[in-house]
């Protein structure tokens, strides 16, 4: 095993170990923290497909996170209030089933990413950052001003949604479920990076002219990447809402987009396990520092600055050294 692979494995194992120890010590709050790390890491794994592989600096990924969250919120809200989502032209009922909710979250956020990407990807650089930010803000204000689903106050879901064969109300079981989803998506995203699509996408990031000269269209590659990226972050949004049993417009906020990006930068842009490292570090700092000072984000900011200035590979980069080309 290479050094990088060992560090990745250790980082990844840390989550279930933490949850297991917390279970033994009867500390459900720690299990919840580990679950939160797994879910936020998943959101960042999604963004990392656009940012790390495609070089697409999206500051609007909260849009997809929020859409996933509201997919859960709306479906569960109708199920718990025994009202149908719509009756005409055909009847759609709410649901408390996670697999169905996940599917809806993935499809809805993928469609949103396709639409937002189709427009934003015509621009590059700062314009792309701004336009993705603008779309995120549009959805944020839309959620605030839509009274049917709680407006500014959001939606509370009284009982966590169910998954066949599990009792999701037991923290360790819900953790296991979220961790399994993260593991599967990480595996898939590792495969994606090495696939034909991944090769073309990363080449388009480095040199779009080269990609065009071999007959491929960077715009199309980026749009597909952006759509996959949004879908993954959307799935994370649905899980996040289920973790909190609550969804509100803050899931759409630009601060949320920024946080997801911070996870990646802290962990290492384009590193497969960067999002896991970054999310874990962020939540750890939040947990340790927020008790000491309410200005804990200043320390995160300072850390971020150090990483950007002195350790461009992020946490994984400093631990594992330079990335070797996978051949």
């Amino acid at each position: 095993m290479t050094r990088a692979a060992m560090i990745n494995a250790a980082l990844f194992a840390m989550l279930p170990i933490t949850a297991g120890v917390a279970l033994a010590l009867d500390e459900p709050f720690i299990i919840t923290l580990a679950t939160k790390v797994a879910i936020l890491a998943l959101a960042a794994v999604g963004l990392n497909i656009a940012l790390g592989l495609g070089g697409l600096v999206s500051l609007g990924h909260a849009a997809f996170f929020g859409i996933g969250g509201y997919a859960m919120g709306i479906l569960a809200h109708h199920a718990q209030s025994y009202t149908p989502l719509m009756e005409l032209p055909f009847l759609i009922e709410g649901t408390k089933s996670m697999p169905v909710i996940w599917l809806v979250a993935i499809i809805a956020s993928a469609l949103a990413a396709l639409a937002i990407g189709a427009l934003s990807l015509r621009t590059t650089g700062v314009y792309f950052i701004m336009i993705t930010l603008a779309f995120g803000q549009m959805l944020y204000y839309f959620a605030i001003s839509w009274p049917a689903y709680g407006g500014e106050d959001g939606l509370s879901i009284y009982v966590r949604n169910g998954f066949p064969g599990l009792n999701t109300l037991v923290p360790i079981q819900f953790f296991g479920l979220c961790f399994a989803v993260l593991a599967v998506v990480l595996w898939a995203s590792g495969r994606l990076a090495r696939s034909a699509f991944g090769l073309a996408l990363t080449a388009a990031r480095q040199n779009p002219e080269r990609v065009e000269a071999v007959g491929l269209t960077p715009y199309r590659l980026r749009l597909v990447a952006f759509t996959i990226s949004g879908a993954v972050t959307g799935l994370a949004g649905a899980l996040f809402a289920d973790l909190n049993r609550f969804v509100s417009p803050t899931m759409f906020s630009w601060q949320m987009s920024g946080e997801i990006m911070i996870f990646i930068i802290l962990g290492g842009v384009g590193r497969l396990f960067g999002p896991v490292a970054g999310a874990a570090l962020f939540i750890l700092l939040e947990h340790l520092l927020s008790g000491v000072t309410e200005f804990w984000l200043i320390y995160v900011g300072a850390l971020l600055l150090l990483v950007v200035l002195f350790a461009r590979g992020g946490l994984i980069g400093s631990l594992a050294g330079r990335e070797v080309a996978h051949d």
Binding site: A188, R191, L192, R194, S195, A196, F197, G198, L199, A200, T202, A203, Q206, N207, E209, R210, V211, E212, A213, V214, G215, L216, T217, L221, V224, I228, A325, H326, D327
Partner: protein, 250 residues
């Protein structure tokens, strides 16, 4: 007369007041190397860009394989069968040499929307890429990062990637630049054989190579073709000597 594979018709390009391409009519017929020479700033690279779609002409048209391709986008022209090498190497620098060649084979195959299968395990693509590297003499460097190659090796990789495309015609912008005497000689020999596979529109500063290789030479000065002919005709052409070759001696 043989039907030309590639043809420009009254092609013009202005950059503001500067006429970089001035009513250019050139053609490329199967089996030939057509060299394009001219002093720096004559508009050679601009002409390549117009043919490849990197610049849009002010007027005129480009025809390739029996179709008007003036309105096609760059990737479409590549898929139509135009294989290009850039004057300034344009490669994916963080990828390995082999990955760059596989990218070419991938573009050629069109099977890019594959998301979970490792591309470097695709035996057909890798074999095609390795064969191209072998032909330009880069096989030993297949695992090297492209960014770590020498300038000359990057030129060779440009050619290898173009080979993986199996194009109907090659457009090469100064492929010998930076190769050194020995490298130039080898490239000359290589291009000499390559013309059997597909004709080459060759922009080159190395006059020895040009006069040795070219079936036809066109001389571009201030965006205009002032003469087209065989090597002997161009050598004997008074206008060319005055405008261009004479300068070199001076």
């Amino acid at each position: 007369m043989i039907e030309p594979l590639l043809e420009t018709r009254d092609l013009c390009k202005n950059f503001g007041a500067l006429q970089a391409t001035d009513h250019v009519n050139i053609s490329l017929v199967p089996g030939e190397i057509h060299a394009l020479i001219g002093p720096n700033g004559a508009g050679k690279s601009t002409l390549v860009k117009l043919i490849m779609g990197s610049e849009q002409p002010s007027s005129g048209s480009v025809h390739f394989a029996g179709a008007d391709i003036t309105d096609l986008r760059r990737p479409e022209r590549a898929r139509a069968g135009l294989g290009r090498t850039f004057q300034i190497s344009s490669l994916a620098m963080e990828h390995t040499v082999l990955q760059n060649a596989v990218l070419g084979a991938l573009g050629r195959s069109g099977r890019v929307m594959r998301f979970l299968w490792p591309v470097m395990s695709d035996k057909a693509l890798v074999a095609q890429a390795e064969q191209a590297l072998e032909r330009v003499g880069l096989a030993d460097h297949r695992g090297a990062l492209t960014g770590e190659l020498s300038h000359g090796q990057r030129r060779l990789l440009e050619v290898a990637v173009a080979l993986t495309l199996e194009p109907k015609a090659f457009l090469m912008d100064e492929p010998m630049a930076g190769l050194g005497a020995e490298g130039s000689a080898r490239m000359t020999e290589f291009l000499d054989r390559l013309r059997q596979e597909a004709p080459i529109l060759l922009i080159e500063h190395d006059m020895d190579a040009v006069f040795q290789l070219a079936d036809r030479i066109s001389v571009l000065v201030y965006g205009r073709v002032i003469a087209t002919g065989t090597a002997a005709e161009i050598r004997a052409n008074a206008a060319v000597r005055e405008a261009y070759l004479g300068e070199e001696d001076a």
